[in-house]
Symmetry: C2
Subunit: 408 residues, 2 copies
Amino acid sequence: MANKTFIISAPGKVILHGEHAVVHGKVALAVSLNLKTYLRIQPCSDQKVQLNLPNINVHLNWKPAALQFLQSAIDVADVLNPKTASQIQVDQLRRFAGIPEGSTDTASISILCFLYLYSAISASYGQMPSLDILVWSELPIGAGLGSSAAYCVCLAAALLSASGAITCPVPQEKDTTRWNEDELELINKWAFQGEKLIHGNPSGVDNAVGTWGGMLRYHAGKIVPLASVPTLRILLTNTKVSRSTKVLVAGVKDKLNKLPNIIKPVLDSIDAISCECERVLAAIASGIAIDEHYRILEVTFAHRSVTLYCICAESGQIMQYQNLATRCQCNAFNCKAGLTIDHSVNLAPVNLLQDTSPSVVEALKRTLKDLGYDCWETVIGGLGVALHSPSSLHKDIFQLLCDVKNCQ
Amino acid sequence: MANKTFIISAPGKVILHGEHAVVHGKVALAVSLNLKTYLRIQPCSDQKVQLNLPNINVHLNWKPAALQFLQSAIDVADVLNPKTASQIQVDQLRRFAGIPEGSTDTASISILCFLYLYSAISASYGQMPSLDILVWSELPIGAGLGSSAAYCVCLAAALLSASGAITCPVPQEKDTTRWNEDELELINKWAFQGEKLIHGNPSGVDNAVGTWGGMLRYHAGKIVPLASVPTLRILLTNTKVSRSTKVLVAGVKDKLNKLPNIIKPVLDSIDAISCECERVLAAIASGIAIDEHYRILEVTFAHRSVTLYCICAESGQIMQYQNLATRCQCNAFNCKAGLTIDHSVNLAPVNLLQDTSPSVVEALKRTLKDLGYDCWETVIGGLGVALHSPSSLHKDIFQLLCDVKNCQ
C-alpha cells in the first residue's frame, strides 16, 4: 500500500427479480448499481488509525497499540476462511469503542464492523501501518440498496491490501484496476463477516454483488455470478415508505400457508420471470439485442410489480408509482415500474430507461421529486469492487473525498 | 297470460373471477347483478304485435298474420331443444324487418332477436295473441354486464308464457314469483338461441345467470349453478375504456405462447382464486360468516386485478382505479378494486362494499364520477328471471315502464 493515497469503490445492489420468492426456494437475480461507496485510504503520519464516515458523522481515531490488544481475542484458524465474530468478541469491541449494549444505530454498527475487520485482518495477515480511512457513499442507508455490504466490501479490500493479504494493483493514471479471482474471493469472504456482524444472518448476496458486480443468480443458498450482463440505464426511486422486511416476509409466509393454491403458482411465476430475465439479459450482453428482448424485459418488469403485489400485503405505493410512470408516458417497453424491498425498510422502484428520451425521464423525475421521492438516473450491471487512481474519478467525487481533512 | 299486464325481469351478470383464464380451461365464477332488464307484456287491442325498446329508440309493430308467414321457415324438431337460427332464417328475418345486410347495431340485432324468438316460439308451441312488449334496461349496453342475455331471457320468458309453453304463475299483490325448474330450463335454452343470434358463439354463461341468478361455476364448457350464494353489496364502475375482447383474448394467447413458464402459473393461480372464492361464498351463504371469510374475499378480489394485469396487455386504468380506491380509504377488506371485461368493450371494476360506511362509498362515487366514470351501488347474487306484480316494483321503475304509452 506504500505511502500513497488509494481510492476503492464498491457498488450497491438492486434485486431485479425474485424478491421474497427467494425465501421460498425460488430464483432471484441481484444486479450491481452504479451508486457506489468510496473508500479513501492513505498513510497517517502521526501513528494513528483514523476512521472518517462523513455521511453519518463518525470521525474517530485510535492508537495502533490499543487496537493490537483487540487482536489477541481473534482465533485465526484458517486465513482463507475467516471466522464470524463471536458474541464475546463483539462485546469486547463494543466496550473498547464505548458503545452501549443494544445500540443498533448505523454509526455504532459501522464502528464495530470496522474494528472487527481491522483487528481480525491484522491478526490473520499481519500488522497494518498507521492508516487514515475515509468512507463516503452515494447510497441511501437502509433502502435495500446494499449500502452496508458496499461499506464492508470497501473495508475488506482496503484492509486486506494494507495488511499484505492481497496485492495492491496500482492503477495507471486515469485508470481503474481490480484484484484477481482469488483475491476477490477473499475480499468477499471478509465482507460477508462484516455483513454478519451488521445483519446477523444475511444471504451474502449484497456483498457478492459489491465484490463481483454484474449480476448474480441466487437460488437455494447458492450464489452464482453470471458470465456477462449488459449495463442498462435505470431510474431508481426511493419512495421512502417505511416497511419492515421482517413483517413483509412473515406476511408472505402467512398468505402462502392460508392460500397455498393461489400463492404457490405466483411464486412459480416469479421463478420463471427470474429465469426469463436472466436468459434475455445474457442474449443482450452477447450482442443479440433485438426489440423482442427488450419487450420481454418490459414484461418481466411489469410482472415483477404485480406478482410482488400478489404475495406481499399491500401496495398503494406500487400502484401509485406505476400510475405515475404511465401518466408521464413512461409506459414504453423500457420504462416500467418495479420494486425492490429486500433487506430494506423502503420501497425502491426501478424503471428501465434504455432508450427513453431525456425529456420523458426529466418529466418523471420532476413528478417523483414533487411527491417527495428521491430518484437517481443510473446504470445497473457495472463492475464490482475496484481500485481507482484519483484522476480516474469524477472530479466532484474526488473533491468530496479530499474535503475531509487528512489524518487529524 | 290472459288480459293482464305482467312484468318480467332478468338480472345482468358480472364475472367475479376467472375472466380470460376460462378460455384456457380454468374455472370462472359468474354472478347475477341487481341491475336488471324489465319486460312489460300486455294484450294489444288492435291486433298488432308491438315491440318497444325505449333505451335504443325502437318502436315497431307488425300484423300477427305477417309474422305467421315467418314461422313457415322454422323447423320444429324437438320442442324441448330449440334449434339455432340458420343463416337462411336470419336473412329472411332481416329482409322482413328491412334491416340492411351486415347491420350489427344494437337496434337491428335486438329486432332480429325478437322476430326470431317470436316466430320460433310460435311455430313450436302455438300462436300468440296480439301483444304489446316493452323492454327497458338498467344495464349499460356492451359493458360486459350481460345486457343482451337479460334481454333474451326476458323475451324467452314472456313469449314462452304467452304461447302457453310454460305457465304464467300470477304473483300475489306486491309479490314476485318464478317458474319451476323445467320451465326455467326451457327459458334458458331459448334465451341461449337469442344470444347465439346476437353473438355468434357465446359461452351460455350470461343467459344462465339471467335465468337462474345467484352464482354459476363455468369450467370447460360446463355451467353449474351453485346451491346457495350470499347477496353482497358492491360498487360497480364503468370506466368506459374501450377494449376489444377479441384483441384482449388474442393478447393473452400470445403471451401464453411466448412466455408459458411465466403465464401458465398465473392462470393456475386464477383457477385457485375462483375455487377459493366459491368455497368462501358458500360458507358465508350457509351462515358461517366470519371475518376471515371476508378477508379471503378481499384477497381474491385484490388478486383478481393483478392476475388479470399479468395476463392481459395493459392496465393504466386498473392501476388508476385501484389507486383511487386506496386514496378514498376504501382499502378495507371489503372494498377492493376488481375488473370485468368478459364479452365487453369496457372495463367494469367491482368493489365489494359489505360494511363500508356510506360516507366512504359516497366519497369514492364522487371521485369516480368526477373522472367521467359511471358507477352503481348495487348487490350481486340475487334472483334470476322473475314475474312481478306491478305493485311489487319500485315505483320509479313501474312509472318508467308505464310512461311509454300502451299499444300504439
